[in-house]
Symmetry: none
């Protein structure tokens, strides 16, 4: 079971609205299913042409490893060597900074992930969380409460 | 000047609605700006995970060469060798079958391209044309009138 | 919802047993989930080292496009150019000969695909069908009844 | 002479059982022959889609260099530059953290290697050692006794 197109479009729209309301830089939002394929993507006017790849990478890497960006960052801090190998294995599609957020349903079932790029990492992440909430789903960022 | 996010989202939504109304297989729609970067993408539930790449390729190749899918097909028929080189140079992101459509404004200015994959090529193309019309823009397929 | 490890291991074991019983060449069997990631793989002694990639490709390509090997073959016959682009987009992980078979449950829900390489294509396919049946699941090859 | 499919399947099964008994995260186990090709692979439900590549990389890198993960780590500490080249040459399929373990017979003859990913590196390694022992073979991790 993965995020539907309708849910993904809601996430994209609400995440971009959050960015606009907060005065963020132009954002790119990608919503991926559990297998790592894009379901919906939106790039705001003025968001650079590498942003779709970067937004996708933020979501792809956490889905591929099954751990959050923050856990990836901890792994990179513990062992820079394995992080180098991971990035190479992933063809660059793995990022340790915030902005990739797991999407779960109310029961905790994994439905996919959102990746956002364009502003500061924590702002990207906040937009993703807002988008997921707007779709009535549950965000997992790996941040301490 | 390129297609805006708002226009691109309208194209994605209307193209997918056209496919649903016509009973097409699940479609994937990608809208690219004049630089070949994705502005918006939507993949209907049940559309395979290679479809985003294929939809993107249909638009990317015509933008990169500045000629329609049909002109690419004529080129391939005239000279299979150059077509082989083109596909390799493009990393596969160039397709000669219908389903990649230029987006122009009323004055004929190029704004980007739409690529669609999922059903028969002419159906994919018809959905792209419907999407572009819904955004109040002009489609160029290369088909004879 | 995708094939479980237990189901995938049953498919691998039963497919290889079928090959041995029928006197096929050594086979390699790969079972992929709906997102195209390997769940289980087994390579019989004497099966060459490219066989894991080829077996995986047979399953990956049909899942990525959502159509059977035979439908891919028909597409290639209709338009060799698009087939060339598809193989390039897939990084070679797309094959039009038999030996990649969809796995469905009794309700028709897609659970993944099996790819087999090592003997004649129709024998590879027969082993995949035998493996899927042994797991109590439903095989879809695209062959006419 | 390399690990047989029967031995490799025993290693996969016993390694995964070890992980389950110990309460590890879901694991992916890959068993490679002396030429670096996969003989058997199993991915537990919930183990991410990048794990097959990472498990394979842990075994592939030590076989390719003929030294253990720990010797690779020492090499990386001594000379980060050569390690960077190694990872690039290997396309990422070389990892210096524990979890790749050589398989030898009672006489010390090299038969292949096991790679495991999913939990802490030392837990991955312990599961590999358990799997190799269950097949009546000898594990070499490079750890001090």
């Amino acid at each position: 079971m993965s995020v539907t197109l309708a849910q993904a479009q809601t996430i994209v729209r609400a995440a971009l609205e959050h960015g606009t309301e907060q005065g963020f830089n132009p954002l790119t939002v990608a919503v991926l299913d559990t297998g790592g394929a894009v379901v919906a993507l939106g790039r705001q006017d003025g968001s650079g042409y590498l942003r779709p790849d970067l937004a996708t990478a933020k979501a792809w890497g956490i889905l591929g490893m099954g751990i959050t960006n923050r856990a990836l960052a901890a792994r990179a801090a513990d062992s820079p060597e394995i992080y180098t190998s991971l990035v190479a294995l992933a063809g660059g599609k793995l990022v340790s900074v915030p902005g990739g957020v797991f999407i779960r349903d109310a029961d905790g079932t994994l439905l996919g992930a959102v990746g956002i790029s364009g502003d500061a990492s924590l702002n990207d992440e906040a937009a993703a969380v807002a988008g997921i909430a707007a779709a009535g789903l549950v965000a997992e960022t790996g941040a301490e409460d």
